[in-house]
């Protein structure tokens, strides 16, 4: 007994322990993606659905274009959907890099279909028969904000977002397999952004060599109501393997990243698909989403249901799926969220009267219909956004209707237009129409409201002398002309420049230290006077 006590005492006295650990991080680093790329593999993706207008087929092939891996649309295919029982045929028409049928076409639950595609080269591909499953309605839809919705490798942390979950009653008589997709609508903030440029005649005009411009981008709002459309970038599938006949609740079917404070309307589409199709999408999910864990399934071939009839060994990617679809929508208010938005959100920065940019100032861009943008949101959805279906006729509130207002974005009830060019002075960067923009006139001390008050402009290039670096437009900048004793205001007075590289010889010898007898001292193909760094062959 004594013995035991003794030992305990020793242990407690001597039991000094210390841990040192330099914190160590497991890490996830970006690396250049590598591929063992094979060209000319045919990819056919087709969907026939019980929802009108959603039946379409895409035919592509893999290709390397300028070193990038792309899939290229194959035009000129003959595509038809064949009812396996009635042999009814539905022909597809090529439209916008997609093969479509009429907007009213839909398939009925229980019907059996196969898809046939004949390539322009005559190869015939046929899918196996797909049976259209029956619809299973969504009973309830909910959303929940999750601060740690998704891990993002790029930022090395969790990103917030709204998780959409649904409830439904699984039919007990069949095995059911589902694929979930969403389409989300939010107000488009800008219909166009021009980086280092301005929007003129519908295109971004580069202002890269405008040294007076300090803003690196301009934003352009939409000229009509415009909705940004986003889609799921995750594959969500569900099988009732363990829940056949049960009421299923809280099934997360969509993850909406919190990338803006715009309210958003999410339309969940629930596709009831075949077991084979489920396996196909489950494999995609494994390849796309389930690949970053310690226990990730190892990648496998994605086996679709097309075969080349004349060459069954050919690898054909993609799948034809016959699905029944139901949808349900939920509106998520985000405008009063206090959490910080993650993402490269651009602050509103419209063109401003007085900026050193060419006339006419532009504020808006049209909302071009595309996969990612629409003007025509379904009327029933507009209510969610508490917007009347009527358009706002007077945006700036100057009581002059947009279509007769000479400056729509700025309130100008007097509609003054000094130069009668149709652009109201409140929007006109050259109000007096003398060819010199407000910025230049202010800079040179003249007035933009007086066509008689014009700045000195020796070479009449609309850039006044007080700003112009080459006042006689002879190609030699004023500073060098003065240095080499030629006249900066006289186009005929040129400095001595033996190699005609727009750097006078004396400048080459004493300032730029370049070769006065070699127009391209560093040999990079750019002449010395027209590049930033005439001594550095890797910069120009």
């Amino acid at each position: 007994m004594n013995f035991t006590l003794h030992s305990k005492k020793i242990i407690s006295n001597r039991f000094v322990c210390l841990f040192i650990s330099i914190i160590t991080y497991s890490c996830i680093d970006p690396i250049e993606p590598i591929f063992d790329f094979q060209s000319d593999i045919v990819i056919i993706n087709g969907l026939a659905s019980t929802t009108p207008g959603s039946t379409s087929v895409k035919v592509e092939k893999t290709k390397i274009e300028f070193g990038d891996y792309v899939s290229e649309f194959i035009s000129g295919c003959r595509v038809r959907l064949i009812n396996s029982l009635t042999k009814e045929e539905v022909n597809f028409l090529e439209e916008d890099q997609l093969y479509r049928v009429s907007n009213v076409f839909k398939i009925n639950p229980g019907s059996k279909w196969e898809l046939e595609v004949i390539l322009p080269n005559g190869n015939l591909y046929r899918s196996t028969t797909e049976v259209t499953p029956f619809e299973v309605p969504i009973l309830g839809i909910n959303e929940k904000f999750n601060l740690e919705m998704k891990y993002d490798e790029g930022i090395g942390g969790y990103l917030p977002g709204n998780e959409i979950s649904i409830d439904f009653k699984d039919p007990p008589e069949d095995e059911n397999f589902f694929l979930y997709q969403y389409k989300a609508y939010e107000k488009e903030t800008y219909c166009k952004v021009c980086e280092y440029g301005v929007l003129r005649n519908g295109e971004c005009l580069s202002q890269f060599d405008n040294p007076r411009l300090t803003k690196d981008y301009y934003t352009y709002t939409c000229d009509s109501r415009c909705w940004k459309i986003s889609y799921n970038d995750e594959i969500i599938v569900y099988s009732d393997k363990f829940t056949n006949g049960k009421k299923i609740s809280n099934l997360i079917v969509g993850k909406i990243p919190y990338t803006s404070k715009q309210n958003i309307l999410v339309e969940i589409q629930k596709l009831n698909i075949s077991e084979d199709s489920y396996k196909y999408y489950k494999t995609i999910k494994d390849l796309v989403d389930n690949n970053a864990s310690l226990n990730s399934p190892l990648p496998t071939a994605l086996i679709g249901n097309f075969t080349n009839i004349s060459n069954p060994d050919e690898t054909v990617l993609g799948r034809f799926t016959a699905a029944s679809a139901v949808t349900k929508s939920i509106f998520i208010k985000r405008d009063n969220r206090t959490e910080r938005v993650y993402g490269n959100f651009l602050e509103l920065q419209p063109e401003v009267l007085g900026d050193p940019i060419p006339n006419p100032l532009t504020y808006e861009y049209s909302c071009e219909e595309s996969l990612f943008r629409t003007k025509n949101l379904d009327l029933k959805f507009l209510d969610y956004f508490e917007i009347s279906s009527l358009a706002n006729d007077d945006i700036d509130g100057d009581e002059i209707e947009n279509n007769s207002d000479n400056c729509i974005s700025t309130s100008n009830s007097d509609q003054s237009d000094l130069d009668f060019d149709g652009i109201g002075d409140a929007c006109d960067n050259d109000a007096d129409g003398d060819g010199y923009i407000l910025y230049y006139e202010n800079f040179c001390g003249t007035s933009d409201f007086d066509p008689q008050s014009v700045p000195n402009d020796n070479d009449i290039d609309s850039v006044p002398d007080c700003i112009d670096e080459d006042d006689d437009n002879d190609g030699y900048i004023d500073e060098y002309e003065i240095f080499s004793d030629s006249d900066p205001f006289d186009q005929n007075s040129l400095p001595l420049d033996s190699d005609n590289d727009y750097l006078p010889d004396i400048v080459e010898r004493e300032i730029t230290r370049t070769n006065p007898n070699n127009p391209d001292t560093d040999g990079d193909g750019y002449i010395d006077g027209r590049e930033c760094c005439p001594l550095n062959p890797s910069r120009n």
């Binding site: 899939s71 489950k282 796309v288």
Partner: protein, 801 residues
């Protein structure tokens, strides 16, 4: 103390009471001074007879001698030599207590005690490590680890920093039979491969057989990995333990009835709930706790019988964000809860003249569980599976002649695999699923003889006859010639579903080329009737186990070996060159889109593959000296080939392809520097060809989602894996006779901070993020490395006796 020693001497007197005429018997029992455990293989030289021998496993050497005055020279590597004189005029028993000679003790000396065994026996492909050797191999978080240490040996690899086991000679993880005191361990790691489950302070030795596996072992085709727990030979209380960053340990050894009943009990406990979220942001929601305990009882009713009982328990609970959740079960998180409970009862009866009979009863239970707490509810859905393994074994060993030994035995194993049941708890959200139990018996009869043919040739020849039978209740699917499922057949309880009989010959030959060099050839055939099925880099604890049936045939392996061994006894250098060729059948590969979770007919998810593995292992060991250690180089390949008819199941078009365990080049080394008795420094290096993985053959887009396309498997390789570890052990007890000894072990794992990627995968591009790396590629790509910087730890270990 003295009294105890006296008692020990007396008790061993009874062992040697044979009197032959004028000869007297001299019995020497050799024990380790620190814990009184018997030392086997100790060299005893006698003068003037110029004779001698080595001690047996009980530490006993016995010889009949004429009456004379003898001088005894007792040598044992790593211990201080003992010389004594003895006048022999009656039967004598001497107890020799040998003291460890610190500065000469080699830290990672392989085959230290039997240092010339490599050239003497026909056994090939064997690796032996004892606890003293294991303890100083630097490991992450300051604790020695059996499986991590093994990866320093020739021909042993793993999947990387996260590996739920080891790969031996190109085999998969489940092709190794891991035995802890004879009981199989189905999940050898804690925390998804971070630690081995075996209670570190309880490990006495590790043996790996890879070539001509002895006939007494079978059941897995790549190797047998036998781990022995310490036997509590002790006459006094002994405590030892350690405090580490993630886990802490305590072991107690004590006699209960002096010299009759002794116990050793040790445990380890790890809490890392706090640790992981701090160091790795990705592991924010991690919960991870584990513990393991080993208890071994030794009962010696008399000198001819010895009984041991070993109980090993291991439990883990974790929740880890880096593990993909289970599909189609709606839950707030996925938790893993798994445990092993093993029991071994062993009876050793010693007859006269070096023969003995061993009887063993074994039960191994492995019960992994997945827990799915429901959202907004207290209910927990659970998925449970279980392996209930039991075994009875009887073996007779005849060791009485020097040039001939023989053993023979019978082993009956029962595998009950409960593949899974899904339990809805008290909720009503899911339907219960209960896959029926699989019940298989593996009966083996085995026999082996070792004998010498003249001076140069020694042979080992064995046979193991195995009969495997699968019994009902069982549901079997029937297929037509195109492999389309037709119907199912139900087998009643105790109906024979399928049965396999396989003879497994084992053979080894040693030809001595000279005093210190030899040449060996070997052959072994093995069958495997249970396998772990998974389609990930490394199995999860809940991965499916399956016993052979009509469609999933027993795995078969033929190993051929060829080796050359040379020792330089004067400089303590051992060289070996071993080559092998393994031809395997019915390896498991998964089909595209395979899902094994609660899947009823696994044959629809997997494809059998033939395998070819071959390689050459070169090993250089220096067992003694201030600098000692081992350097290995292996060149090895491991290939697989399917033979499927349907195009979608053909892997790489039915051509040979490299397996996940193909590592053409591996260099591993462990170097120790022992300058004085207070400091010893070790360096470990592992360098191996990167693990094969699969890169995409194309990309296609579906609704904004970029999908990588894979047409072949293992068409690329991860970057080369290499890592250097450093360990510094400081023993500060100046007085070796102090009761309390403490030492510090300072380790730096991954000394130069190598980032070894575990996985490289593609991601969707997120705008311009990392655009400078991904450039124009439609997909981004990231590599996941478990460690990026050196991992430093300090552990305090203490010993009280």
């Amino acid at each position: 103390m003295k009294f105890l020693k006296f008692v020990l001497c007396i008790s061993f007197l009874s062992i040697s009471t044979l009197i032959y005429g004028q000869d007297y018997t001299l019995t020497v029992k050799v024990v380790d001074q620190s814990d009184n455990s018997p030392l086997d293989g100790v060299t005893i030289l006698l003068d003037p007879c110029k004779c001698g021998g080595i001690t047996n496993t009980n530490g006993i050497f016995s010889k009949k001698l004429k009456k004379d005055s003898y001088s005894l020279q007792i040598d044992y590597l790593g211990y201080r030599s003992v010389s004594i004189n003895k006048d022999l005029n009656k039967n004598e028993t001497i107890l020799i207590s040998m003291e460890i000679q610190e500065e000469e003790l080699s830290e990672v000396v392989l085959l230290a005690q039997k240092r010339f065994q490599s050239t003497e026996t026909p056994q090939m492909g064997v690796i032996e490590l004892n606890s003293r050797e294991l303890v100083k191999i630097p490991a992450a978080l300051g604790e020695f680890d059996v499986l991590k240490s093994l990866t320093l040996m020739a021909g042993v690899n793993n999947t990387g920093d996260v590996s739920n086991g080891v790969s031996i000679r190109g085999g998969s993880l489940d092709q190794n039979l891991l035995l802890f005191d004879s009981a199989p361990v189905f999940n050898p790691t804690h925390l998804f491969g971070l630690f081995s489950v075996f209670t570190p302070d309880l490990i006495s030795s590790v043996n790996i057989y890879r070539a001509n596996i002895p006939a007494k072992y079978g059941g897995r085709i790549a190797s047998i990995l036998g781990i022995k727990a310490k036997t509590p030979y002790s006459d006094k209380l002994k405590l030892e333990g350690g405090i580490g960053l993630v886990s802490s340990r305590l072991t107690i050894t004590t006699p209960i009835i002096s010299n009759k009943l002794m116990i050793i009990a040790g445990g380890r406990i790890g809490f890392s709930d706090l640790f992981f979220p701090i160091i790795i942001p990705r592991l924010k929601n991690t919960k991870a706790n584990f513990n393991d305990t080993t208890v071994k009882l030794l009962y010696i009713p008399n000198s001819n019988n010895q009984l041991t009982y070993t109980n090993f328990m291991s439990n883990d609970f974790y929740q880890l964000d880096l593990i993909t959740s289970v599909e189609n079960i709606i839950s707030s998180s996925n938790q893993y809860d798994f445990g092993t409970s093993n029991h071994t009862l062993k009876w050793l009866h010693t007859f006269k003249n070096e023969t003995n009979l061993t009887g063993t009863l074994i039960r191994s239970l492995y019960s992994p569980k997945n827990l799915f707490p429901e959202i907004d509810s207290d209910n927990v859905i659970s998925f449970e599976s279980k392996i209930d393994f039991s075994s009875i074994k009887l073996e007779y060993l005849d060791n009485k002649k020097k040039n001939f030994n023989f053993y023979s035995g019978i082993e009956i194993n029962r595998y009950q695999v409960f593949p899974g049941n899904l339990n809805p708890g008290f909720g009503n959200s899911i339907n219960p699923v209960n896959l029926s139990k699989e019940d298989g018996y593996e009966t083996s009869f085995y026999s082996n003889i070792n004998f010498n043919l003249g001076q140069r040739i020694s042979l080992s020849s064995g046979i193991r006859l195995t009969q495997f039978s699968l019994f009902g209740p069982y549901v079997e699917s029937q297929y037509d010639s195109n492999n389309t499922p037709l119907s199912t057949i139900f087998f009643d309880k105790n109906d024979l579903v399928v049965s396999y009989f396989n003879p497994e010959p084992r053979f080894g030959l040693n030809y001595k080329l000279g005093e210190n060099s030899s040449f060996k050839v070997s052959y072994a055939r093995l069958f495997q009737y249970i396998q772990n099925i998974y389609n990930t880099n490394t199995p999860l604890p809940t991965s499916r186990w399956k016993i052979s049936d009509r469609y999933i045939l027993p795995q078969k392996n033929d190993t051929y070996g060829l080796g050359f061994y040379k020792n330089y006894p004067d400089s303590f250098i051992e060289l070996s060159l071993e080559s092998y060729y393994r031809k395997t059948e019915n390896n498991l590969t998964y089909r595209p889109g395979a899902d094994f979770f609660l899947s009823e007919f696994l044959e629809r998810e997997i494809s059998p593959a033939n395998g070819n593995s071959y390689g050459v292992e070169l090993s250089f060991k220096k067992t003694l000296g201030k600098f000692n250690g081992v350097i290995n180089y292996s060149w090895a390949r491991s290939l697989l080939k399917t033979n499927e008819a349907r195009p979608e199941y053909k892997i790489n078009n039915n051509d040979w392809f490299i397996s996940d365990f193909d590592r053409p080049h591996t260099i591993n080394a462990s170097i120790n520097f022992e300058n004085d008795k207070y400091n010893s420094i070790s360096l470990n290096f592992v360098g191996q060809s990167g693990r094969p993985y699969t890169i995409a053959n194309g990309i296609f887009e579906r609704q904004k989602v970029q999908i990588p396309i894979y047409l072949s498997r293992n068409n690329s390789r991860l970057p080369t894996y290499h890592r250097l570890d450093f360990s510094w052990k400081i023993s500060y007890s100046k007085n070796p006779n102090r009761k309390f000894k403490g030492d510090w072990i300072f380790t730096i794992y991954n000394l130069y901070g190598r980032k070894n990627p575990f996985n490289i995968y593609y991601t969707q591009r997120n705008g311009i993020v990392d655009g400078d790396v991904f450039l124009g590629s439609p997909l981004g790509s990231y590599e996941l490395s478990v460690l990026r910087s050196p991992l430093v730890s300090l552990t305090y270990n203490f010993k009280f006796q």
